[in-house]
Amino acid sequence: MSFDCSDYKQYKRLHLSGEVDLHNSPDVRRCLLDILNRKKSVIVDFSDLTYIDSSGMATLVEGLNIANKMNLTLTIVGAKDAPLQVLQLTRLNQVFHIVESLEDIEE
Amino acid sequence: MKKISLELIVGLFIVFGTASILYLSVAVSGLSIFEADGYHLKAKFENSSGLKKGAVVEIAGVKIGQVESINLDTDTQESLVWIKVQTNVEIQDDAVASIRTAGIIGDKFIKISTGGGDPLEDGDEIIETEPSISIEELISKYMFSNES
């Protein structure tokens, strides 16, 4: 698993690739909370993500909650396959703002 | 609320329990954690049978110290008893130390009858002593006097 953080328009883009599981979700969490603490809206890029477990999902839920409180946004981009199915199974697809590709994000 | 009460209960229990353990060991059994102030005197007895380490030393029925050690003085074949006396109590060089018994079958203790001479200092010896009183003497005492 690897993740990197870059700027995209006025957002911060958190790009996850590979598998997010119990062992590396704390790293993702630290990075996500750090971005939100700096009052930046986040785009979580799922396009290269092959698997995300519930600890990863829980991390994103926590992030979304913080973002909403601070009037920021957390958007998931390019979810497909297994990660998308996990979102659907837990019905989190109705909670997160999910778009298909980066171009769909409004300014 | 529930969480606080669990810690509180256990905390109280342990504090209360430790206090009673301390009380048992310090107050009841007379063990002192901090060495009480005092000075040491020695006395030689012809016979100290029944006297134990920690036994009470008293003047006029008041506890003023305790027995520290009991050994045999190999020169004189007498019993060498070291006692510790509270600092504020003066014992004179002509005082008499005698070993007595509380009741008929009670514990032995050392009774000191004070004199009028110069005060003794740490390490001095009480010269005049009376040994343990034998049971026969005790009975005769009971029969002929009302002193208890």
Binding site: - | E7, I14, S20, S29, G54
Partner: protein, 261 residues
């Protein structure tokens, strides 16, 4: 005749097997004490249950034991003119013998039975299987907090029992029989030695291990009970645990006393 001998042999073997199983159980519990993570909250819960909640019964029984002791010693000692020594007599019997033994009996009745039944029900409901399948050792997770809580609680309860018993003796001796309070306390101070206190502690710790061990092990092996199952088996092992721990405790009391007196 031959059949009877055979049966006797079989029962003996079963008994030895039971004992061996319980021994292995205890050694596993002890060797799990230092494995991580340590359940500190569980330990607190168990101290609250074994120790703190036993206070009322300990205070009451200690008080009455002390009072009865004082009455009886008075009746005997008054004939010898030795009533001044009542404090010594009451405190010596409490600290050396009655304190640890009575406290342990009270805790067996209150905690031993409850622990045995609880663990037996956990076994019946497959809770230990579930723990094992979650890679959580039942010894570390369930047994160790109970063992440690018993080892911590019993000496404390015993001390409280001793003190309250001495106080009970004081009440009877001083207020009922007119002894001097000073004399009562003075003889206690003279007669109780460090080795008496050591005895109280050693006994209470040994009793703690015995009672919690037997309660836990009997409950843990409820499924091996022959001819009974379910609720009936829970009842049966609980009774067995109470009887066995009381007897083992008294036996150990004799052994320890004969070594330490």
């Amino acid at each position: 005749m031959l059949a009877q001998i055979e049966r006797l042999g079989a029962t003996t073997i079963t008994r030895f097997e039971d004992l061996g199983r319980m021994g292995i159980f205890l050694s596993r519990v002890f060797s799990s004490i230092f494995s991580r993570p340590f359940g500190f909250r569980d330990l607190l819960k168990q101290i609250a249950f074994i120790g703190a909640s036993s206070m009322p019964i300990i205070l009451l029984s200690g008080l009455f034991t002390g009072m009865v002791l004082a009455l009886q010693f008075y009746a005997v000692m008054v004939d010898f003119g030795a009533v001044e020594l009542m404090g010594a007599a009451v405190s010596k019997s409490l600290v050396q013998e009655l304190g640890p033994v009575m406290t342990a009996l009270m805790v067996i009745a209150r905690v031993g039975s409850a622990t045995c039944a609880e663990i037996a029900i956990m076994r019946n409901e497959q809770q230990f299987d579930a723990l094992t399948c979650m890679a959580i050792s039942p010894y570390r997770f369930i047994m160790v907090p109970r063992l440690l809580a018993a080892i911590i609680s019993l000496p404390i309860l015993t001390s409280i029992y001793n003190l309250i018993g001495i106080f009970g003796g004081y009440l009877v001796g001083v207020y009922l029989k007119g002894l001097s309070g000073m004399a009562y306390m003075q003889t206690i101070e003279n007669s109780i030695t460090w080795s008496d206190l050591k005895m109280t502690f050693i006994k209470s710790i040994i009793f703690a291990v015995i009672l919690i061990w037997i309660a836990m092990a009997k409950g843990f092996f409820v499924h091996l009970e022959k001819g009974v199952s379910g609720a009936e088996a829970v009842g049966k092992v609980t009774t067995k645990a109470v009887v066995a721990s009381a007897i083992t405790m008294l036996f150990a009391d004799y052994i320890v006393s004969s070594f330490l007196i």
